[in-house]
Symmetry: C2
């Protein structure tokens, strides 16, 4: 892995002086085109051994490119707002929007590698983390991002010499700390861990670029040329960037499916409903105040046919909680800032801290429902979304979040009745729009989309609860009961969620 | 202040039952109109003595209104990301966008009142804080927000009885803590502090609404009706909401002003430039690594004529720093999410944490420059902006941020020379646009706007540095030197910045 980066690459001053201005001008032009094009972000990871010139390389990129459209995120110890959310949240919030370049100094690789060296992560756990990272990067690339992963390498002897040289120069001496020298002692361990990590994450969509770090001029020129080349190629490539590999959808050959199998006639009598409602609301209000809940967060996802009663159900849930503890996120069309980011970004930004609740009224499943049916995204996009969504929920759960998903189903007949009823009501907020009627016409397509969604995303960790919603009382009680049961299970089978360790 | 709220107001069950459904329906309709209108946000502050029903009132609003378009922010201890930024940052980030309602449980009043009761804030400091708050709220109202400030009051005896009643009910017992009882002992102190605070912040644009908290039905109905009434009136009021009181601009009667008085012929010879540049860059790189700098942050604001050399100057600054320490914010047209917020929101979101640097390439002064000259905002808006901007910078400085502002001035002749030079250069990023030529035609209007800006916003705390920029080298060195001098002064005359106390 590192052989080519121990050959003693060097660039002499004269060559550098000749190459630099040309490279710089070309980089600036490419960066200008990236902004004008505005269709994809560039994500540059800068990793490697201590003293291999990570900081210097970033500074050179700032010198050569227009620094106003670069951002550098250095990830050291997470802040408390980050610690109280899933591991990947801090990286999602730092992603550059389309048309810009984000440099990650210390990336999603740093913590796993460090933990592996310190023996806090066994090989199996490490591989699982790397698998997650591969999936995350595949998502980024599928969303259009240009991902460049640099690893700066030094031989053991090279590292010792670099540190000495840095220490000698008064301008750079401050950068050599005790830790730098300490890390020289763990050089072999780092090489072993990093070698493994680089090997398993050396994917076709985001390969590693290993660069020898000894010679400043060689390193800078190499990185600059690679960035330029990748940018120019990507800008010139007008093909659709999506090549996801998705299994074909299974054709339906009988009329039995998860929706038609439902018994929509189930109902609760008024009296029963009131007793049960009070009972489960009381239980829920206890559970979210349970001391153990402070280690978790609760994410409720609501999807359902139009007029299926999502709003009413949500109100019955929030009635049992303190308004200061929850946030309701009604999902509508994405904003301009959200459109400049990968699809899931606009949900990540609302992920609650521990001890808090977020209720999504319509969710990330819009991708495989309305966007699929209405053709708002390419087939390739919604096909890969199933996996991306499963990964997303997996990441949430891995850090102690409790994710509960509801599909509210009503019969066509009941929906028609509710539509007509609403047309008579004066309240503007209940107005039936033309779009609602249009959606009804597409009910067969939605039916298929819902069945596929449930089949592909009802996982052991985050199963779908399908709610028979023809009777509002029955639906509300089923929802409340389901939430309480999930919470009880999570709070009882208590292990402290490990913030930097993943487990299933 | 509290007399009317100790009369023992009560609403009987029958009346409540009759009124509630009507009020609820009307509130939902008004909220719907608010969203459709989309022109202003509603900010509701919920404050008052312990046990006066603050939480209950918020929950009632959630029950009555559409909870999906409400957000509640409870401000307890600040997170570390908040602590490392100016006091008001946490409130700015929580402001609701236009068309929505934000409920603040514990607002910008909580900390000053608490500190006053604990004796941590003397009367003069408290009044200064209240003055700041008045200005902040005036800004919100001028930006269109509907601000409703509720104070829930209980007599001392009433508070004792409320706490007892809450304790008795198993559903609410958890809300009565030791602190609640402890606060009964400081009742008189709270009344005194709160009475004073309410009096001095009872402004015409954001008056306090004191509500007796004893009876749940009375309190809920009162708040509901006030919110409804205020919303309906505001929605029906199509007049321009801006009535700022601004002093008239002084007419110019001779040709001498801060710009014409400049000696633009100043220059540095190449050799001199290189020596000085290296000297001040070295100094700067030391200063931002100084241990004392970790208690401060640095905010650099760049404005200037087109082609005055802002970009080049910024690059000379960043060359002296580590890319991981600073962020450059190029200010362009606001995004959709930014347009839904008060003008200064889009700058607040980029305010650095302590130990970090943010460089604004064009700034909040756009309001009184391009927006004034091009007529992008009403005269009333840019007239009030001078005060708002001074307040903004004052808040930044109050918490240890170092704000340095540069205006880069070149002569008309030099600008023309640079424009023509750029037309010959092949680099796309330097392209002169039609807009640049148009701006040149408006140079007289810009000239006046710049002079007014400097006169009105060059304050003792945050003075403008006007940079004679016909010679690039001279300008860059002056800028670097100015930054170093400001930093030296700030790091030497060292007091630990007090996060919750304000001082000049």
């Amino acid at each position: 892995m590192f052989e080519s980066a121990e050959l003693g690459h060097k660039i002499d001053k004269a060559t550098f002086r000749e190459e630099e201005p040309k490279l710089r001008a070309a980089l600036l032009d490419a960066q200008f085109d990236l902004r004008e094009n505005g269709k994809f972000p560039v994500v540059i990871l800068v990793s490697g051994v201590d003293g291999s010139g990570k900081g210097e390389t970033i500074n050179v990129l700032y010198e050569w490119m227009d620094p106003r459209y670069l951002s550098t995120l250095a990830f050291s110890a997470p802040t408390d707002e980050e610690r109280e959310r899933p591991f990947m949240w801090r990286y999602w919030r730092a992603l550059p929007p389309k048309g810009r370049t984000g440099i990650f100094a210390g990336s999603w690789y740093s913590i796993p590698i460090t933990e592996r060296i310190l023996g806090q992560l066994d090989k199996g756990d490490l591989d699982q983390r790397m698998d997650q990272i591969n999936r995350f990067e595949a998502m980024l690339v599928n969303e259009g991002a240009l991902v460049l992963k640099f690893w700066f390498h030094l031989s053991k002897d090279g590292q010792r010499q670099r540190l000495k040289a840095l220490e000698k120069n008064p301008l750079t001496a401050w950068r050599v700390t005790k830790e730098s020298w300490a890390r020289l002692k763990t050089y072999d361990k780092l090489q072993e861990a990093a070698g493994h990590v680089l090997r398993v994450t050396n994917t076709p969509w985001a390969p590693w670029i290993v660069v020898e770090g000894t010679d400043d001029r060689y390193r800078s020129l190499t990185v600059g040329k690679i960035v330029l080349d990748a940018l120019q190629k990507r800008l010139a490539d007008t093909r659709d960037q999506n090549f996801p590999v998705a299994p074909p959808m299974a054709p339906k050959i009988d009329s039995l499916d998860v929706l038609t199998a439902l018994d929509l006639a189930q109902k609760l009598e008024r009296k029963d409903y009131e007793t049960q409602l009070a009972k489960w609301q009381g239980r829920l209000s206890e559970l979210v105040r349970h001391p153990e809940f402070k280690k978790h967060s609760l994410i409720l996802a609501f999807e359902g046919s139009d007029a299926a009663g999502k709003g009413g159900s949500i109100r019955r849930i929030t009635a049992a909680m303190d308004a200061r503890q929850y946030q309701i996120v009604p999902v509508a069309a994405p904003t301009e800032e959200e459109r400049a980011q990968p699809y899931l970004w606009r949900f990540w930004r609302h992920i609650p801290r521990t001890g808090r609740v977020t209720i999504f009224d319509r969710t990330w499943y819009g991708r495989v429902l309305v966007e699929r049916v209405e053709g708002y995204c390419a087939e390739a996009d919604w096909l890969r979304a199933y996996t991306e969504i499963n990964d997303f929920e997996h990441e949430l759960q891995g850090d102690g979040a409790i994710v509960i998903k509801f599909w509210l189903q009503i019969s066509d007949k009941e929906q028609l009745r509710r539509f007509k009823e609403r047309e008579k009501i004066e309240f503007k907020r209940f107005k039936i729009t033309e779009e609602d009627w249009r959606n009804r016409e597409k009910s067969a397509a939605y039916h298929t989309a819902v069945c596929d969604m449930i089949d592909r995303t009802s996982t052991g960790l985050a199963p779908w609860t399908i709610v028979e919603a023809n009777d509002k009382g029955f639906a509300r009680v089923k929802i409340l009961r389901t939430i309480c049961e999930h919470l009880e299970q999570a709070l009882k089978t208590e292990e402290t969620p490990k913030k930097t360790k993943d487990k299933d």
